[in-house]
């Protein structure tokens, strides 16, 4: 275990928001170039590297201030790894992560600490992400202690204010996580993430552990907080309908790659990548009258291939109904087909043909 160096020198300024905002108005808040994460697989007596899980492979994208970028994909596509890379909870194998124009890819733990104020994370499971032995007050107040920030009026008052912002009773200050339901716990996690007024919040499956009726409460809460506090979100989820509801732009991932990146409306109206189309048409429609009138469903065969040895060429070609020879040999680059629409495919879907599930109700 390495003990993080005490770099008091790296965090001299207790003043929040060290970078002047105006300077970067036109720039992306977060810029990711060629981001890659390979987890080594070690084998044998000498722990030689026998291969690698290529969880994230060459990602390029930007997150603009004030927007919500949704990231969707099936399990194992690398979306959570991506979230952990941009929050620097994992060390990238290659590529760069720039936050407000500053390269943060290889900052050490100490140098990263002041930036932790600006980049926060909301976790999927509200049961395992809150320490069961700490009170809600301690949990939500922890960021202040770690960052040595003393909010005006004291930590307790600020924590109680945060609790009421996320719709909890300030009197819950002294309670323990087990006294709360899943939805309430997720609100506690959100309050903790917002404590230091971050600029970027990365939420990894923030609602997938919650019941439908509670899910809607939390989605609305995230929405309100973004408007009130001017937050920028990266929301990682597998649920396409939730992602559509919360996002401005959406990145679709498959086996460690972004296969399509577009603004929400054009993506859902006319997906260009065959995988996006298949993913959307697989979502069950909550309307029994449409049960039999679903000619356009694209049913994929088989499962997602292993990220240890991803298919050659286009990684989707083993399951794609449009695949031709070139797909097996040449990897399609993520290229801009129209303003704001990036697709990585040799045979993009006809943009004029609407996707089957997006019919007007």
């Amino acid at each position: 275990m390495t003990i993080p160096e005490r770099s008091d020198s790296a965090a001299p300024a207790p003043v929040p928001a060290t970078v002047p905002a105006e300077k970067h108005d036109s720039e992306a808040l977060l810029k990711v170039t060629g981001l890659r994460k390979h987890f080594p697989i070690k084998k044998g007596l000498f722990q030689r590297q026998a291969g690698a899980v290529r969880a994230v492979d060459e990602l390029d994208f930007e997150v603009r201030p004030g927007e919500t970028l949704g990231v969707v994909g099936e399990s194992g596509c690398g979306k959570s790894t991506m979230g952990r890379l941009i929050t620097r909870l994992l060390e990238p194998t290659a590529g760069t992560v720039e936050f407000e124009g500053r390269d943060i890819t290889h900052l050490g733990v100490g140098a990263m600490r002041p930036l932790r104020r600006d980049i926060q994370m909301i976790f999927q499971d509200p049961y395992s992400s809150l320490n069961p032995r700490h009170t809600i007050g301690t949990i939500v107040g922890a960021p202040f202690g770690l960052q040595r920030v003393s909010p005006p009026g004291g930590v307790k008052k600020e924590v109680q204010r945060l609790l009421s912002v996320v719709g909890l009773n300030p009197e819950h200050y002294n309670r323990y996580p087990h006294e709360f339901s899943g939805g309430q716990r997720q609100r506690v996690g959100i309050a903790r993430a917002l404590a230091l007024r971050p600029k970027l919040v990365v939420a990894d499956e923030p609602v997938s552990a919650l019941d439908v009726s509670i899910q809607a409460q939390v989605v609305n809460l995230l929405d309100d907080l973004q408007q009130d506090l001017g937050l920028t979100y990266v929301i990682i989820a597998h649920d396409l309908s939730v992602v559509r509801h919360v996002s401005d732009r959406i990145a679709v991932m498959y086996l460690g790659k972004i296969v399509e990146l577009a603004d929400r409306d054009s993506l859902y109206r006319a997906p260009l990548h065959p995988y996006t189309k298949a993913l959307m048409s697989a979502v069950p429609i909550p309307d029994p009258r449409r049960k039999n009138a679903r000619g356009g469903r694209v049913l994929l065969n088989g499962d997602v291939p292993s990220p240890i040895s991803p298919p050659s060429g286009c990684r989707f070609h083993t399951r794609c109904w449009k695949a031709t020879e070139i797909c097996g040999t040449t990897e399609p680059p993520l290229s801009e087909v129209r303003a704001g629409r990036q697709v990585a495919c040799h045979h993009t879907e006809n943009p004029e043909a609407p996707a089957p599930p997006v019919q007007r109700g």
């Binding site: 099936e74 439908v212 909550p286």
Partner: protein, 345 residues
């Protein structure tokens, strides 16, 4: 003349240190062969407890030394299961009625091959040799769409992906041609593209085998795909039941409205805001008085005289084979749905 599966006033209560947990508290429903019933509700609403009760899996006293208290009647094909002895129910379980569980990884035994587990399920109920049982296992794996079934029959569960495991479990549950199949959140652990495959598979198999299917889920999309009838559970009771089309297009209970409003939908234009149900699910130990939904119901004050807080509403028929347990009059329900709820969906 009873229905193929007829559950009458089922109650499942668990004694705990904090009090009696009334997980299911007076549930009745019927299901005929060849039909699919979808049971929807949030966690803790009693969906899974109901299915385990039908399968006779509560009585073994697995909750410490204290047993679940079960009352009511469960009729399967003319036999009452709660009064029948455990040996009799064991003879039916797996042959007459089978279950698909949510998490195939924990429902399959990690030490035995898939084939061995399917063979075991088959030989318990059929007096056949090992070879022909194995042939049957391969045939079933092939039927549920596992590639190279003669090879994969010797694989262990960890060698299968999530979707394949769920297929293997479906193969195991169908190996004895059960007449009742209960699927408890069969696709919740799966990705959407795999979920679509499994839902198609369940639908095809039902058409082929003509069994009665109960599908338990929290996902309204899944029930809309599969179910002929829908039963909405809240706090251990049925709040609305009816043909799928009516429950989706003319729902009568405010909780059903809440579920429909909470859900972001891909088949509609972007909604501005979701309409969540306020508050959290009820305690099953101290149920709210009167209608269990009244603390969360925006229309709790519509009926007169505080009746929602004092009197428990009974299921009443509101139209052809459609029941709802709500104190509001049919006119009020229809008006609120048409004027206030439907336009927002």
């Amino acid at each position: 003349m009873t229905a193929f599966l007829d559950v009458r006033d089922l109650k499942v209560h668990f004694p705990t240190d904090d009090g009696l947990v009334k997980s299911v508290d007076g549930l009745s429903f019927q299901l005929e062969k060849g039909r699919t019933l979808g049971i929807v509700g949030e966690s803790g609403s009693g969906k899974s407890v109901t299915s385990l009760a039908v399968m006779g899996l509560h009585t073994a006293g697995q909750y410490g030394r204290r047993k679940a208290r079960i009352s009511g009647e469960i009729w399967l094909d003319g036999t009452e299961l709660l009064a029948a002895g455990p040996d009799h129910v064991r003879g039916l379980r797996g042959r007459e009625m089978a279950m698909i569980f949510q998490d195939p990884l924990s429902a399959l035994h990690p030490y035995y091959t898939i084939g061995k587990q399917i063979v075991e399920a088959y030989r318990i109920h059929h007096d056949v040799g090992a070879k022909s049982a194995r042939r049957r296992a391969v045939e079933m794996l092939d039927r549920v769409g596992i590639p190279q079934p003669d090879k994969r029959v010797d694989s262990y569960p960890h060698e299968f992906s999530g979707g394949m495991r769920q297929r293997a479990m479906i193969a195991m549950s169908l190996v004895n041609n059960p007449e009742l199949l209960i699927a408890d959140e069969p696709t919740t652990a799966l990705d959407v593209t795999v979920q679509a495959q499994i839902l198609d598979l369940i639908r095809d198999l039902q058409r082929e085998f003509g069994s009665a299917v109960v599908i338990i889920t929290h996902d309204l999309g899944v029930v809309a795909e599969l179910a002929d009838d829908i039963l909405v559970m809240y706090g251990g009771r049925c709040v609305e039941r009816g043909p799928a089309d009516r429950v989706f297009h003319e729902p009568r209970h405010p909780y059903t409205w809440g579920l429909l409003g909470s859900m972001p939908r891909l088949d509609r234009d972007q909604q501005e805001r979701l309409v969540p149900v306020k508050g959290s699910p009820p305690s099953l130990i101290n149920r709210p008085s009167g209608c269990a939904f009244h603390p969360r119901c925006p229309y709790a004050d519509v009926p007169k005289d505080d009746v929602t807080r004092t009197v428990r509403p009974e299921l009443t028929e509101v139209g052809g084979r459609h029941w709802a347990a709500c104190h509001m009059s049919a006119e009020q329900q229809k008006r609120i749905w048409a004027e206030e709820i439907a336009p927002k969906l």
